[in-house]
Amino acid sequence: MSEFTYLFRGRNTSASPEEMQKHMEKWVAWFKELGAKGYLKDPGHPLEGDGKVVSGKQKIVNDGPYAEAKDVIGGYIVIEARDLAQAAEISKGCPILEVGGSVEVRPIQKLDM
């Protein structure tokens, strides 16, 4: 088994309370499923929408992340899967895909030699 991180991109900006609740319920159900099937290695964290971006040798600090809403990383988790293909397959259940977001699936490098 290998570990992968899911980076969730995109934030749901305008929805009615009812829609937001439905969406939240889907997330809760999806997390439960990941846990029940033994995929969820680390439930990670949601990230705040604002932050700073520090860049360059001058170490310039900007308010950020200056990306479009659909590109902003909203959170991450770590899952366990056989291989990248399976990890990608599992990510298809993520509710963020229904609201125009995306999941970036990245294998975590093994540091033990």
Partner: protein
């Protein structure tokens, strides 16, 4: 713990009401932003960590903390609720004041305050209902448009205008002044009645939406009944009417999703708990000399509720109640329903007489059940060909697939008959 049905929607109204009370009615948009923010936070945190032990309390606490942030940030630039402004300015009093405003009883009063504010006589009844749905029931513009079979643009315009009128009123309605309370109460009752009716008889095709409108109207009526000034005979009568009508909701649509008229419903599906509750409320409404249209309508509904079979219905009593209703609040719809009751009581010929006597019938020109009633009466006296024409006319006016199927079946029922 599993999330509760419509939790966000319900809490939305409570949070907006309380935040608007604190921020002042001119800052309604700010209150709405804070609430939206609290939901976004819940969406993120609950998604990752699961639904908390007490979801409503979690949401309220989040809204409260956000409110504190906003107040600290904005207090030099903005004015808030006039009666709280001084208390919100000082760090000494800010937190305790907010804490007090977020007590359960304070929130309940805020909901009432907002409800009464939304029913300002300067706004049309339509605008009042839309505003109540939007602010207190958490319905988005699109959800209201779909419930009212209207367009996004039309509803948005209506709500934007109503919000402006609300903001201009400077302060929220004072629910502690008895005279003002009773002066505004009829308008509030009327708005909730219209909201309920929109769910019950409205044009929306989506069954779920309709039931929700009824449920919201009942929930808000219950809020009025929790306030001592609100427990008037008319409020009890309104609540009774809603309970008795809502009892029939499970039977209004059959297994294949087709609309059933009152006469054809499977009465064993009526919700007897609701009926009992309605009858009890009706009893509570029978004090004093005040006879509202809600009393009469609730009484009519109680006669239906008590008839276990349609043949057992006391149509004579129902006709006489419609006579009373025509005196208190005459309308072509009431006259139409009266004609139907007369037909049940004395036969289709008499029903037709009453039907033809309906005044201002042109107001019913686009109402499919106006020609459909005529079709029904002609059908019952064996004039199938005439009946067919009326049903076809009604079919052309149908507002949703359910009505279309219902009326289409009536048209086809006429084809088996004679050629008169």
């Amino acid at each position: 713990m599993e999330p509760i049905d419509h939790l966000f929607r319900r809490e939305s109204g409570r949070m907006v009401a309380t935040l608007t009370r604190i921020f002042g009615v001119q800052n309604l948009a700010m209150a709405e932003d804070v609430v939206q923010d609290a939901f976004r936070r819940a969406l993120e945190v609950w998604s990752f960590r699961g639904v908390p032990e007490n979801p409503p309390a979690w949401l309220m606490a989040t809204a409260k903390n956000r409110a504190l942030d906003v107040l600290r940030r904005e207090r030099t630039a903005r004015t808030f609720a006039p009666e709280l402004t001084r208390l919100l300015q000082s760090e000494w009093t800010l937190a305790p004041t907010i804490e007090e405003q977020f007590q359960e009883h304070a929130i309940r009063d805020d909901v009432l305050r907002m409800m009464f504010s939304c029913c300002h006589p300067r706004m049309s009844e339509e605008a009042q209902v839309a505003l109540v749905l939007h602010i207190l029931c958490g319905f988005s513009v699109d959800e209201i448009a779909s419930a009212f079979v209207s367009t996004h643009a039309a509803i948005e315009k209506r709500i934007t205008r109503a919000k402006k009128a609300l903001a201009k009123s400077k302060r929220l309605f004072d629910v502690t002044a008895p005279a003002e309370f009773s002066a505004r109460l009829p308008a509030v009752q009327r708005a909730l009645y219209l909201l309920f009716n929109e769910g019950y008889h409205g044009a929306s095709a989506e069954k779920a939406v309709r039931v929700e409108l009824c449920r919201e109207a009942m929930r808000l009526t219950a809020v009025i009944l929790e306030h001592s000034f609100g427990t008037t005979p008319a409020t009890y009568a309104l609540a009774a009417l809603m309970s008795l009508d809502a009892a029939r909701l499970p039977a209004r649509v059959d297994a294949s999703g087709d609309l059933l008229s009152l006469l054809d419903q499977d009465r064993s599906q009526w919700d007897q708990e609701r009926v009992a509750e309605g009858l009890k409320l009706l009893e509570l409404s029978a004090t004093g000399s005040d006879l509202s249209e809600y009393h009469v309508e609730a009484a009519i509904a109680s006669f239906h509720a008590r008839a276990l079979r349609v043949e057992d219905t006391d149509w004579a009593a129902i006709v006489s109640l419609y006579d009373t209703l025509m005196k208190i609040r005459p309308s072509p719809i009431v006259a139409l329903n009266r004609a139907i009751a007369v037909a049940q009581n004395e036969g289709p010929e008499r029903g037709l007489e009453e039907f033809r006597a309906i005044k201002e019938a042109d107001l019913l020109a686009s109402y499919p059940f106006y020609p459909a009633t005529l079709g029904e009466l002609e059908f019952r006296r064996g004039k199938y060909k005439t009946a067919r024409q009326h049903f076809a006319e009604a079919l052309a006016l149908a507002r949703n697939p359910m009505e279309r199927r219902f009326l289409d079946q009536r048209v086809r029922a006429c084809d088996g008959g004679d050629t008169q």
